[in-house]
Amino acid sequence: MSLERPSTALDAGEDAGAPDSVVAADALDRRTSAAAHTHVLRTAGLLALAAALAGCAVLSIAVGAKAIPLGTVLGALLEPDGSYNASVVWELRLPRTVLGVFVGAALGLAGALMQGLTRNPIAEPGILGVNSGAAAAVVTAIFAFGLTGADAYVWFGFLGAAIAAVLVYALGSRGRSGATPVRLALAGTALGAVLQGFVYGITVLNENVFDQIRFWQVGSLVGRDLETFLRIWPFLTAGIVLALMLGPALNAIALGEDLAAALGAHVNRTRAFVALAIVLLCGGATAAAGPIWFVGLIVPHLARSFTGPDQRWLLPYSAAVGAVLLTLADTAGRVVTSSGELEVGIVTALIGAPVFIYLVRRRRMAQL
């Protein structure tokens, strides 16, 4: 019988062409090879993304206020010769680029985790209060301790993000049913409003604080050096490793809490781990670069159009797409305007929003 002819075992009774067993074996073969094919395709896609990321990173090192030819960049990277170009590459551009890759990957992963945890495709990691917590802490740092400069805010930003997330999670997980997604969203909104109000109050009363925070709040990699990266990379790395381990459990949770538990997944424990990973990733990224919330929202959507809903693939894809997007946006921000540079937070929105809207219009969306 021909392969094109639709025949399901459901209506096998009407199928007089071939014995059932032959049809089934045939279909099974096709299905096994299709599964293997998908596997290969997804692996290849991930490798291609990694290659694209490497390209973007090199581009990001090559492009800047002083144009350095690509050959010189590669040469300086492979064999640092102590020249001025080499020191620019190694001391200024490489740390910033690596930080961008880490921050992008972290934000992409945090977004995918948040959407997987809440089963809500418009959830972004900020729901846990990470952004408002970091902002409140940075405002405090400037107001009370007179700190200035992106580097000085890192610890405050991270601590603020972590404390806010712990409070939101603690409030959301009271009572019998635990930290359900709806509760987390409500708790995050409530606490986020309080922190936002605090930020408003301080910035209105103190012009100096406002002048600092208005630049921090855009989200930027300007002036981030090796020091920033060295402070934050352990958190980001831990978060990335933890996040990539959570794929199978998130896959189970996607089937509903009862079935997840029946399959042997620990629903509450997984939720707590996911929240921890989000704090490490999003808190770390926000502390280093300011709130770039849009990346966490759109990257999982982009990644999902390659991988479908399988979290084991979605998570690494989200990390890679996030890193590519952020590095590209940071590089583009340095060249689009003649005077100064455009912050990465602005560029990601300018690039990302049209892509996002295109995706939304193109795809048939299921209900929430």
Binding site: P121, I122, L171, R174, G175, R176, S177, R183, A185, L186, A187, T189, A190, L191, G192, A193, V194, L195, Q196, G197, F198, Y200, G201, T203, V204, L205, E207, F210, D211, R214, F215, Q217, V218, F294, L297, I298, L342, E343, G345, I346, A349, L350, G352, A353, P354, F356, I357, V360, R361, M365, Q367, L368
Partner: protein, 373 residues
């Protein structure tokens, strides 16, 4: 006007017209039918709801009176009343009639508008966090206003105009982009998020490129403030409210039907699509008028419908109640914003965020402690 008990509220037995209601002994529920004009107008009244609404109204009057009286130049209540009647010292007249009265009116009207609009959006999106943000309205309005402040250095009226143009323009763009063989609510939300992100990027760009003092003006506008609002603003927001509030309230019963699901509502004879568009337009326009006058004050639209629902124990959206609650909340918040750090005047948005947020935290804490689902 008569107040007679009825078995099922304004159900079939009152629809007949002037027929007398059921005898008191048959009363089962605490719902009463209120009839006006000899039975041509009748509606259901529940004592608890009536008491809550009455309480809200009374509290608003008290806050209103206090806000006319206190301030850097304190005026005792009797002199406030004299000043309202047009008598008394020149300073009394000036502060009460030209400064405090219009500001109090703006607070009440804007609060009511935000409360009602919040109720509408929560009802339509069937989401307790639903707000005009879902169609990018707020983002558009604030970007429009900030652009006027930072690029053109405009006056208060021009800023309002910028906000309205920005808000309406954004809402239209979002709607058109979401349109593809009809508008699906979910696609609307996602497109709104995308457009909002673009607008915020533009706004952030402007904010970081502006002079500090101008950026601060824009910042305060974005928080939402009633400082220096006068009779012009009262007039603007009154006209909007007079036109739009009756429209929205009249559509309220249909909204409550639609909360049961669009199909069930259609089955009961509600024109779902038309109602949705009409009520969203009206609610957006209300929000627009409020934002134009005061800036995007946070939390009133979110909290007012939820609070009144809990107080009055209604199971559907209570738009009138949300309006009353919104008026009280904003009037009280503005009083605090003026007095908390006097003589420094905080923008009222700071107070609504901190106090509203704390209150919501407390409500959630209490509700979840007992282990309710």
């Amino acid at each position: 006007m008569t107040l007679t008990p009825a078995r099922t509220g304004a159900g079939s037995d009152t629809a007949a017209g002037g027929a007398p209601g059921a005898p008191p002994g048959r009363r089962r529920r605490s719902t009463r039918a209120m009839r006006l004009a000899g039975g041509r107008v009748s509606f259901a009244v529940r004592p608890r709801v009536a008491a809550v609404y009455g309480g809200l109204l009374a509290a608003t009057v008290v806050v209103f009176a206090v806000s006319l009286s206190v301030g850097e130049y304190s005026i005792p209540l009797p002199r406030v009343l004299w000043a309202l009647a047009g008598e008394g010292e020149r300073l009394d007249l000036f502060f009460v009639r030209d400064v405090r009265l219009p500001r109090a009116w703006v607070a009440v009207l804007v609060g009511a508008a935000l409360g009602i609009a919040g109720g509408v959006f929560q009802s339509i999106s069937r989401n307790p966090l639903g707000s005009p943000d879902i169609i990018g309205f707020t983002g558009g309005a604030s970007t429009g206003a900030v652009a006027v402040i930072l690029v053109f250095g405009g006056s208060l009226v021009q800023i309002s105009l910028g906000a309205v143009v920005g808000g309406v323009g954004t809402a239209v763009v979002v709607y058109l982009l979401a349109f593809r063989r009809g508008v699906q609510g979910y696609r609307l939300v996602l497109v709104g998020i995308g457009i909002n992100a673009l607008l915020l990027a533009v706004r952030d760009y402007l904010m970081t490129r502006a002079e500090l003092t101008e950026a601060m003006t824009a910042h305060i506008w974005m928080i939402g403030s009633l400082n220096g609002r006068g009779w012009g603003e009262v007039l603007a927001v009154s006209i909007a409210a007079a036109v739009l509030v009756p429209v929205v309230l009249a559509l309220g019963p249909r909204l409550r039907m639609m909360e049961m699901g669009e199909q069930a509502a259609s089955g009961l004879g509600v024109p779902v699509q038309g109602t949705q568009v009409a009520v969203m337009l009206a609610a957006s326009a209300l929000t627009g008028a409020a934002i134009a006058v005061s800036g995007p004050i946070s939390f009133i639209a979110l909290a007012a419908p939820q609070l009144v629902r809990r107080l009055a124990r209604t199971n559907g959206t209570a738009l009138l109640g949300a309006g009353l609650m919104g008026a009280l909340l904003l009037a009280a918040a503005d009083l605090i914003a003026q007095q908390a750090l006097a003589p420094t005047q905080l923008p009222v948005g700071v107070v609504t965020a901190v106090i509203g947020g704390s209150y919501l935290v407390w409500v959630l804490y209490r509700e979840w402690r007992t282990g309710h689902a």
